[in-house]
């Protein structure tokens, strides 16, 4: 599914990613853990195609298709979804309109029919309930006046609506209380299936109690320094990153 091969990326002359290689097969959930500044968000921007985050070398492919040739909206239409670590607020943009516009833009790019208002509304209401956003909140402009936790709920609402083929969740757990963590777990577990993949970026074991990963990778110094099963997350929680970063 998502294959990253020997990715090197420099920002403002500083090397951030130094040969990241990763393979997330169909149907699997992988977690990336790592200390601050290890390149986790840079990696997510590189996969999503943010301007300025073009790698110097290496490949990123989704089901064998080169993502690096595509612009961000094309990658989104191919099914790449990024749950942002710090989602933006957009004053003047009505929430429901925006999500529907985005959904239809993706569908159009895939030569699919637009979703009807009635179908959209039905799914929107249903998913909004799952992520715990009230109709009053949703009447506001996009993320306007939302708390950090509510913005993360909005990310999960969009993930649930878009049903992406591959989702990267960049510290979705930060700023969330226990109930919200469980909600994130519910959204992911509901989407989990043989044709989807997830890359969950986190600092903590606690999200992984709700989303059981197939593999855990430690990113330090811009490369994967250790990979293992779910027990690796437990080892990190207990022994910290130092045990691995020294090797980086």
């Amino acid at each position: 599914m998502l294959t990253i091969n020997n990715l090197h990326l420099t920002l403002d002359g500083i090397p951030i990613l130094n040969g990241v290689s990763l393979d997330v097969p169909k149907g699997e959930v992988h977690a990336i853990m790592g200390p601050n500044g290890s390149g986790k968000s840079t990696l997510s921007y590189a996969v999503a195609g943010r301007d300025g985050y073009e790698p110097e070398s290496g490949d990123i492919t989704l089901d064998g298709e080169n993502l690096l040739d595509l612009d961000p909206s094309e990658r989104a239409a191919k099914g790449v979804f990024l749950s942002f670590q710090s989602p933006v607020a957009i004053p003047g943009v009505a929430t429901m309109n925006f999500i529907r516009t985005a959904m239809n833009a993706q569908r159009q790019a895939r030569d699919e029919e637009e979703i009807s208002s009635a179908d959209f509304l039905k799914v929107f209401r249903e998913k909004a309930k799952v992520v715990g956003l009230t109709p009053e909140k949703l009447k506001r402009p996009f993320n306007e006046g939302y708390s950090g936790g509510e913005k993360k709920r909005m990310e999960m609402l969009q993930m649930a609506m878009f049903e992406p083929r591959f989702a990267i969740m960049d510290e979705t757990d930060s700023g969330l209380d226990i109930d919200a963590l469980k909600m994130v777990g519910d959204v992911v577990n509901d989407l989990r299936g043989p044709d989807r993949g997830f890359l969950v970026i986190t600092h903590y074991q606690r999200l992984l109690d709700h989303i059981k990963p197939d593999r855990v990778h430690v990113l330090a110094g811009g490369r994967i320094v250790k990979s293992g099963g779910p027990e690796l997350a437990q080892a990190l929680e207990e022994g910290g990153y130092d045990q691995f970063t020294e090797a980086a």
Binding site: D71, P72, S86, V88, I90, G92, F98, Q106
Partner: protein
Amino acid sequence: MAVTVSLNPVEEALAGTLPQGEVTDAFRAQGLPTRRDEAWKWSDLRLAAKAIRTPSLEYQGDLAPLSALAALEAERVVIANGRLVEPGRAIVCDRSPDVWPVTPLASLATVVPTVGLTLDGDNDTPVLVDRLSDGDGYHADRLKVTLARGARATLVEVHWAVGASFSNCVTEIEMEEGASLTRIVVQPAAIDALTVHTSLIRQAADSQLNQTSILGGAAFARHETRTVFEGTASAQIDALYRLSGDLMTDVTTHVDHQVPGCETSELIKGVIDERARGVFQGKFHVARPAQQTNATMAHHALLLSDDASVNAKPELEIYADDVECAHGNTAGALDDDTLFYLRQRGLSADQARRLLIDAFGAEVLERVEDESLREALTELYGGLNDQ
């Protein structure tokens, strides 16, 4: 009056079109405003009015109203190249010219007959005053609108210019006690035209003005609104401008708070692309008796290209000691984080940009209370630079 400047050929030609009298003497003494005049320092009219202009000929162009405004089903008054061609409910009044030293262009426009409009009672049907211009001459018009005591009305003034005409308009508005006016000023982009539109408004007690201008710029455009509170009243003076190419617009406002307890709210926003240029000058004057004045002024510009520019001068001149006055002014580009966010969600770079430009203007448009009016203005804002 002593002659103090020597007029250039453009000014001589313009002076030649004016009747003898005080207005002409005043013009001969000053010429057209230039950057040396503080109130015109970013809008040098003498520099912009390069071509020698003779009086405009009869209007030959299209008389149809802007399609976006058709749904309003307004009563229409049409002034074409300065002549009243569709009077509607307007009448021509005989008034003598006025010399207003602070607004020299408005003075120049007072030498032509006044088009008078009196509005009383509750008016559900908006009045649309279309000012149409074509050719490459000079013309002026003077509109006087009186809102009778307690009257409620909507006045939409449109400047529609094709060609390289120079139109100089003045709108005088007298709001009697308790009158309420929703006023819209629209100028679609006019690549070669020059427009100066001066609005002089007097508000009696309990009157309420809600003004929104939607401006697409011109080779030279200045929209100046001067309001005087003569009784405790309120005014909202908003504008939304959207410029591209080499167009410019100048939004100048002056609110004179003479009595206690008046409320003023100004929200001016501008989107400036390519080599276009925006100018905002806002002034609140709060006289000593005008205690408990509550006045806010905000101007925000969105610059879409490296060559786009904006000049802004917010000014508060306050002589009363118990007032709440505030102003804010910003200029910035579209936010990279937001653009990337939208593109990640599936919008193309162009769609993302357009969405954010629409969102930027929404704050002004949302302040228009009437829904059909708001929809029409939203459509106009979207298409301002499509000409």
